[in-house]
Amino acid sequence: MKPTISGSRGIIKWGLALTALGLAAMVIVYVLALVYTPFEVRQGAAQKIFYVHVPAAWSAMMAFTIVGLVSILYLWLRDERLDAFAASSAEVGLVFSVIMLTTGPIWGKPIWGTWWTWDARLTLTLILFLLFLGYMTLRSAIHDPAERARFSAVVGIMGMVLVPFIHLSVYLFRTLHPKPIVLKASAPSLPPVMLRTLLLGFLAASVLYLGFVVLRYGLARHAVAERDEEN
């Protein structure tokens, strides 16, 4: 289906609305995290990043899962809109993972004393970043749109299947090499206020992710619609 200028404008409006909602929710989470949640006994202030970082890591992973699922649909239906959506999701995922890989160490250095730690979350985000980067770089190296969509879909599907193996490997590594865990990813029994903030963080990150993707998708369709009108 060919994109129209008015149709894509509608998509962009939805994207902006969702993004604004997501950003507002994020601000609320920040405030809750910094002011209203109690300090965790062992980790102190450093632990507070957990309310934003854990959901953001989850969003980056969802972003790639969506790239993979939409890629399967593309190979089946060959609808260019699916390819545009997958690419938008990958771009947003790339940005999310870059932000996490930079803010994580910057926050952590004064508190942990080290820039990097091979904990599960950072390692997974790094691998996702490399997958997103590979996906986007491949796209930029191919000119024919059908071939670009096809090859991207292949990488998307393979990457989606890879992610559980990264989880498995990191999990097995950590059980065999127990280290003092710098940031606990989750505790078996979180007090209610922490749990609520964390859940709100998940919601905020998901809405923000969705907002960005819809916005990016709308912009892509708009660009194609404009170019079609010129021809």
């Binding site: 024919d144 749109p145 059908a146 170019r227 079609d228 021809n231």
Partner: protein
């Protein structure tokens, strides 16, 4: 002997888009037993893309190709068996000898006794004395003959040829004409894309002209060359 059976190959409404350009627009082609369809047109008219769609190398954006009653899109690889393609590229491996190349093709097509079949195919094109030379060391004309041998080895019922006469000297061109004429009398089909009218005119049963992806002229049997050329020129000028 030509039979009035169902067509060997039928294509309806073939379309192929590359990005925003439509390289092939709404083209129908039918190849019956003993037919030779000649396709003419300027560069960029979509002739090669059409041929590749008929061969199953390129998936049509819309439309259908039916080979001996079966959709070319079928997942069963055997649907491709009746088709042979002779293109600008030889499909040969430069570091293998001529006979090794043909023996490999024979294995791929499941022919009996690949090495013997390879030598026989080379003999048919008069190149048995070059059987053990690497393709890299063969002249361009010889490479084309080996490529032709490769295409004919599997006895394709439908042969698709992309500008087979380009760069050939008179004897080589006549050889291809003989092959095509013999195939017609045996009831096989062919589609020939060509710029060279003279070589194709006497052997074609159908004539098609493509301009910018669409079929603009279609006649069977083809008119006389003298009547055709002025009309063709006028199409080109538009």
């Amino acid at each position: 002997m030509p039979r009035a059976d169902a067509p060997l190959l039928e294509a309806h409404g073939l379309e192929r888009r590359f990005g925003n350009t439509r390289a092939v627009r709404g083209v129908d082609v039918t190849v019956g037993s003993g037919d030779l369809v000649a396709v003419f047109g300027p560069n960029g008219a979509g002739k090669t893309t059409l041929l590749r769609m008929l061969g199953g190398l390129v998936r049509p954006t819309s439309g259908q190709v039916v080979v001996k009653g079966r959709d070319l899109k079928s997942t069963d690889p055997e649907v491709r068996r009746p088709i042979g393609l002779l293109s600008h590229q030889s499909f040969l491996y430069d570091d293998l000898t001529a006979s090794e190349n043909l023996a490999f093709a024979a294995r791929i097509y499941g022919l009996a006794e690949p090495p013997a079949a390879a030598l026989e195919a080379l003999a048919d094109v008069g190149l048995e004395h070059k059987a053990h030379e690497p393709v890299r060391s063969l002249s361009r004309g010889m490479v084309q003959r080996v490529a032709l041998a490769r295409a004919l080895m599997a006895h394709p019922e439908i042969l698709l040829l992309d500008e087979p006469f380009t760069g050939l000297d008179a004897p080589a061109a006549r050889h291809i004409q003989d092959v095509l004429a013999r195939r017609r009398s045996e009831g096989h089909g062919a589609v020939v894309v060509s710029h060279q009218f003279a070589e194709v005119w006497d052997i074609a049963s159908h004539m098609v002209v493509m301009i910018e992806g669409a079929v603009v002229m279609r006649e069977s049997p083809p008119p006389s060359l003298g009547a055709f050329l002025p009309e063709y020129e006028s199409w080109l000028r538009e």
